[in-house]
């Protein structure tokens, strides 16, 4: 924007204030870059000059980090930066037509900036509004329930350069859509009760977590319960809600037992980088149950002896920053956070909020930690694991939002009560983010063990062809499997529950997911960086009618490579949606498989599209017609 070009001294002033607020700390690079962009609309070379001096880091480091995150712009992207959410549910709700409508009205091309530098329109990965889509982000503020009317009005507001604050407030309204509350969503707990209950826990007999580190490390006397609390988390059989299902008690215990070097402390991180397409439960938990989540983090800090915590909030939920900051502030005032929690001398723990900036891979815990340290979000080599060498090499636990909420609930109501809910292998409840083809999309909380069929009945889904459970990295379930259950023993899930009725083309669903993985691959390792692109090209080839049995073999081969050679879970699961749908919905693929023998992906007529656009021609003579049976 003009600020950068005509007022370099203004940029310097802005950058300086931001850097100062972040303690001139280069580990806060992602946060600093985000604020610079919010103030200046993009991260200009002049802004990087200032950052380089203020933070005393090389330019390459700043550009390397800024270049990694989708929401950071090293080139101007307009005063209005509009990103359409491009999850498969947005597509089903007609986002493509709306995007075209906006581009046509504004006279711009998707992905490009308007000639007057005012506006750009592009696509982004799922913004977590699947239950009230189609959605978009404008300058990182979420808009829901798009329709043609809103799009036309939006074009007017952009052209008249109306500030975002004067756009209709209704557009920015985000509903919770809680359809079926359970033990978590139905809870109305006064803040602090879980902490008080945790503190009241006496060490139980036959302590599973029988070590006394917290005392040896000089936590104040009177904190009789950390080991007992850890014991409760273990006996409650709590497992991580982020998808992998690791036993929470074991993770916490390993962190608690990890030796501290001089000057180190233990760290609690809440993973609110809810990036799996189709998932939006953490958005609701942080909107209406923030106290419960922060209380769970404080309970964890108490159990492992941590003084510092982070909430890593995905950039798409930027609008939650101010309300969440207010909740933290209130909890500090109420002695539930900060120094001397509950009035116990030395019981110190505080939470800082860091925002992501459009990188799905940062949901992987070691990539998240890299991002928290102000770096590119590349997953680390493991071992060592975060529980011993996490944030700035300190012992760190990273847990999902829902896991912390459940931990608070366990502290409040006890391990035995919690373990009695759900199934033998999956204790407690699971919140499902239900979206797609159903009458009542939103949040449904069930005890573990609920069948797919039950969920479909409750949300009013009819003629269901398939359900994608746990998003693209999860599993695709067909009608023959609707009696399978949600649980670690059958279908584990991070929460996404996306429904497709029999009018949907499952090949196109898989193709959308493949595009997602290709867009989100961090690029660190060869198999995922190149393999996801090759896979995307293959799916596009089928889409363009050039697919043959040969391409199936290629997909199989890529899948094997991605699974065996990739650096992290993103690459390991990138082929899942394709393999699942090939296995269960093969006719959907065969429809797109027009060739019996190998056909090249290259199509001469399609290759001439750019020339046609440049010359403004689209007549018959500007096309090359394939000769049949030539």
């Amino acid at each position: 924007m003009t600020l950068n070009e005509t007022h370099p001294e203004a940029v310097a002033g802005v950058v300086d204030r931001i850097v100062e607020r972040w303690r001139r700390d280069p580990t806060c690079m992602v946060q600093i870059l985000r604020e610079v962009q919010e103030a200046c609309d993009w991260i200009s070379p002049e802004a990087i000059d200032c950052l380089q001096t203020a933070l005393k880091v090389p330019r390459t480091k700043i550009e390397g980090v800024a270049g990694f995150y989708s929401f950071f712009y090293l080139k101007p992207r307009g005063k209005y930066r509009i990103l359409f959410s491009d999850n498969v549910t947005d597509r089903m709700q007609g986002n493509q037509a709306l995007l075209e409508r906006l581009c046509n009205t504004l006279w711009i091309e998707p992905g490009k900036v308007s000639e007057d530098g005012l506006v750009s329109v592009d696509r982004t990965s799922c913004t977590g509004m699947c239950d009230q889509g189609p959605g978009l982000l404008v300058n990182n503020r979420a808009i829901t329930r798009l329709d043609a009317e809103r799009i036309d009005e939006m074009a007017d507001l952009v052209r008249s350069q109306t500030p975002l604050d004067e756009w209709p407030a209704e557009w920015f309204r985000v509903e919770d859509n809680i359809r079926q509350p359970g033990i978590l969503l139905g809870l109305d707990m006064p803040p602090g009760d879980a902490l008080r209950a945790a503190r009241a826990l006496a060490p139980s007999d036959g302590l599973a977590a029988s070590n006394m580190r917290s005392w040896r490390e000089g936590l104040p006397s009177g904190l009789g319960g950390p080991a007992a609390l850890l014991d409760a988390i273990k006996r409650a059989n709590l497992r991580g809600r982020g998808g992998a299902g690791f036993t929470t008690g074991l993770k916490w215990e390993a962190c608690r037992n990890a030796p501290l070097k001089s000057g180190q402390q233990r760290i609690v991180v809440c993973n609110a980088d809810e990036g799996e397409p189709g998932t939006f439960k953490d958005r609701v938990l942080l909107t209406s149950y923030a106290d419960l989540v922060f209380e769970g983090m404080t309970v964890a800090a108490y159990a492992i002896g941590a003084q510092r915590g982070f909430l890593y909030l995905r950039g798409e939920y930027r609008y939650l920053l101010e309300p969440l900051t207010a909740v933290l502030e209130r909890r500090r005032r109420d002695k539930l956070l900060g120094a001397d929690i509950l009035g116990v001398a030395g019981a110190d723990f505080d939470i800082e909020i860091h925002l992501g900036a459009g990188a799905y891979v940062c949901g992987e815990e070691s990539a998240l930690i890299e991002s928290l340290e102000g770096k590119r979000g590349t997953p680390r080599n493991r071992p060592p694991f975060p529980v011993t060498n996490g944030y700035l090499d300190q012992p760190t636990i990273v847990n999902n939002v829902e896991t912390f909420a459940a931990a608070a609930l366990i502290a409040l109501k006890g391990a035995d009560w919690y373990a009695g809910i759900g199934t033998q292998h999956s204790a407690g409840s699971k919140i499902l983010s239900v979206a797609g083809d159903c009458a009542r999309p939103g949040l449904y909380e069930y005890p573990f063990g609920v069948s797919i069929r039950q969920v479909l009945a409750d949300c009013g889904a009819v003629a269901t062809q398939a359900v994608q459970v746990s998003g693209p990295s999860g599993v695709c379930v067909g009608p023959a499997e609707f009696d399978r259950i949600i649980g670690f023993e059958d279908i584990p899930t991070a929460g996404a529950f996306t429904i497709f009725d029999d009018s949907r083309d499952m090949f196109e669903v898989a193709r959308n997911y493949v595009h997602f993985f290709q867009h989100e691959s961090c690029g660190f390792c060869t198999p995922c960086r190149v393999g996801t692109s090759l896979l995307k090209n293959l799916m596009d080839k089928l889409h363009n009618g050039c697919g043959s049995p040969y391409d199936f073999a290629e997909i199989e081969k890529l899948n094997h490579l991605l699974q065996s050679m990739s650096h992290c879970g993103l690459g390991h699961t990138a082929c899942n949606p394709v393999l699942d749908t090939i296995k269960k919905f093969r006719p959907a693929y065969e429809k797109h498989m027009k060739q019996q023998d190998f056909a090249p992906a290259f199509d001469l007529d399609r290759a001439l599209a750019a020339a046609r656009q440049m010359t403004g021609r689209d007549d018959a003579a500007a096309h090359i017609v394939k000769e049949e049976n030539a």
């Binding site: 090389p58 390459t60 550009e63 995150y69 990188a359 590119r376 660190f524 060869t526 190149v530």
Partner: protein, 232 residues
């Protein structure tokens, strides 16, 4: 070094903290690799050094040796996957071996020969990458970059300069230099930097020295890659 593990049936001694790749190299066994260099901290990104331990595959440059572990490396299955990785690297960039100044000295080319890669197999991406000819002595040809980050590590850890870094994400990941102009000439790079000599492919080309050593008389023309390690 009383501890050992087995690599393709052969007993390999190792010291505490050694990785599988380090121990194998010391014992004269070659495991193909591109982003690994003995003088730098392992990166684990090219995945070419992947081996199989108890049915699970992992990069041998970052995996520490454990007594008694059984490791597979030189098997048809793993080499086929390594060939596929090489093919991916070939189609991702623009690698025109016959006209490349680095031909015969290039680890990517030499490893492809050694593993019997006969074609690129996949469709070429033909990315559009500009060269940087701004520096008086060194030309950067990003067309060949395989994103191994060795120059990044060498510049940072040995030269103390941070001339290079990776920016972008995914398939758009790219090498950048430390200058507002984006040009090598405007950095404090020197052709004598360690960063200039560690590139496994042909990004760093010395100006006015093209084809001083004729093709046919270059390093891997004389002996295949890994041969030196195997003579230990």
């Amino acid at each position: 070094m009383s501890q050992t593990f087995t690599l393709d049936g052969q007993s390999i001694p190792f010291a505490d903290g050694q990785t599988i790749l380090q121990a194998a190299t010391a014992a004269g066994v070659f495991i193909p690799h591109l982003c690994y260099h003995p003088e730098f901290k392992p990166h684990g990104s090219c995945k070419l050094c992947t081996v199989k331990i108890n049915g699970r595959q992992t990069a041998s440059c970052t995996m520490r040796a454990i007594p008694g572990m059984s490791v597979e490396s030189d098997t048809e299955e793993i080499n086929a996957e390594r060939r596929a990785l090489l093919q991916m690297l070939f189609v991702e960039g623009n690698h025109f071996c016959p006209a490349c100044e680095q031909s015969g000295n290039c680890q990517l080319q030499a490893t492809a020969y050694r593993l019997g890669m006969m074609s690129p197999h996949f469709d070429h991406f033909f990315p559009s990458r500009a060269v940087d000819a701004s520096h008086p002595d060194t030309l950067l040809d990003f067309n060949r970059c395989i994103l191994c980050s060795l120059c990044v590590r060498a510049s940072r850890d040995v030269d103390g300069k941070n001339v290079f870094a990776l920016s972008g994400r995914g398939i758009r990941t790219r090498l950048i230099v430390n200058a507002k102009s984006g040009r090598l000439a405007d950095t404090d790079f020197s052709p004598t930097d360690k960063a200039a000599e560690v590139c496994p492919v042909g990004v760093f080309l010395k100006k006015r020295r093209g084809f001083v050593v004729p093709i046919g008389e270059r390093r891997y023309d004389k002996a295949p890659i890994g041969a030196a390690a195997e003579e230990v």
